[in-house]
Structures are given as structure tokens and as C-alpha cells.
Symmetry: C2
């Protein structure tokens, strides 16, 4: 019998300090809820099959697109559709965020490279 | 060309006041992001095919299950797997929450009845 439990974002964020290494904190309908701490610039990339949601809980995320830039503050989210190139940037302070995306999503998308995380931790 | 934009939860919550009538504020991967304000007790129900996530942004949600009860405060979430009967309750104050669930999800699940909302608004 399933026994659903409450999950505290703060308690989960307190369990890790490294950047650009999302942790899985929930799964539903083939999607995952991940938490990430980021600082500095990530690489430009896109996801072929996955739309991504970024909900910011600390700091200010700048999401660069080829055509514009979106600023995402605490209590705000942005959805990046599949196929759209984007570059997440946290250049003034550390940013904490919650991600909703399919379990198949790779952090660097089709760009790949050394910043790819293949085995995500679970909290 | 898609042009992703930032969405403020507060701005969206400010656009409605009624209870138990979720508004759609985002869509991705066949899932929807909804905002809801609730007060009092909802009906007992379950969803046959959909897991649901509830993330609280104001107040304290009590999620009753047949076997236990979970208290979900601000900055906390709970995932209710498909098939699990649950009753959302906001009995001390209004609760604001974000829902993440498949687009096919009906608020009353398989229970149906007069509290079913068939046409959700979009903000």
C-alpha cells in the first residue's frame, strides 16, 4: 500500500551543495521532480523530446534564448519547450530551482559534453 | 518560433478568488501546471490513471488518506499516486497550491459529482 509523505524543499536542498548536479526528489507520470543549485553559466543546449519547467526558489535565474532573455525570480517559473536552445545562467548569486521534466531528460540535452550528468542522485 | 516567458505565481494567483476551481498556467509533456485556492473539505476521490503533485505556497494543506494524514506546509509538496484515495482539506485557513498532473486529470477523479469542474480556465 502506497503511503504518500510530505517532502520539504528546504530539507532536500540542505542535503547537497554542488552545482549543476540535479537531485531527484519525486516521480510521477513518467516525469521527475528535481532540485538543482546552479552558479555561473551552463552550456547552450536543447532537448529533442522533452519540455522543461524551471521554478526558482532562491536567487534570480537568467534563461538565455537565441532570440531573447528571460529573468526568472523567486516564485516564478519558465517552461522551455523541446527543441528550443537555451542557456541557464546564475551570474550574480547562487540559484536554487525545482525542475519538472520527463525522466528521460539529460541535463545537457543534445549538446552532450563534459558537463553531462548521467547518474542523478535521489534524495 | 517559440518565445518562452516567465510566469509569476503571485500574479496568477491574484487573478482569481474562487475555491476548488484550478486554473491552468502552463503545459508541458502532456502535463499541466495548475494553481488552486482551496478552503474547507473536498470530497474523497482517486484518479484511475493519474499521479498528482501538490505544492503548497500559502497556508497548510491536510491531505487525508484512508491510512494516515499528511500535513503539507508552504514550500512542501506531496505526490498522490494513481489509485490512492485522498481528501484535500484546508480547515484552518485558505490554502494556495500548485498542481502538476496529466492534462487528462479531472478534479474529482472517479468519484464525479457536483464538485466536478469540466472546463478549467487558463491564465
Amino acid at each position: 500500500m502506497s503511503r504518500p509523505q510530505t517532502v520539504s524543499l528546504q530539507e532536500k536542498f540542505d542535503l547537497f551543495t554542488d552545482h549543476w548536479s540535479p537531485r531527484i526528489v519525486g516521480e510521477l507520470n513518467g516525469q521527475q521532480v528535481k532540485l538543482a543549485k546552479i552558479s555561473g553559466e551552463f552550456i547552450w543546449h536543447a532537448h529533442e523530446h522533452e519540455d522543461e519547467l524551471f521554478l526558482v526558489t532562491r536567487g534570480t535565474l537568467r534563461m538565455r534564448f537565441r532570440t531573447h532573455e528571460a529573468v526568472v525570480g523567486v516564485g516564478e517559473f519558465i517552461i522551455v519547450p523541446r527543441g528550443v536552445e537555451h542557456q541557464p545562467v546564475a551570474d550574480t548569486e547562487e540559484v536554487w530551482m525545482l525542475l519538472f521534466e520527463p525522466a528521460s531528460t539529460v541535463n545537457t540535452g543534445t549538446a552532450g559534453g563534459e558537463r553531462t550528468v548521467t547518474e542523478l542522485g535521489r534524495l
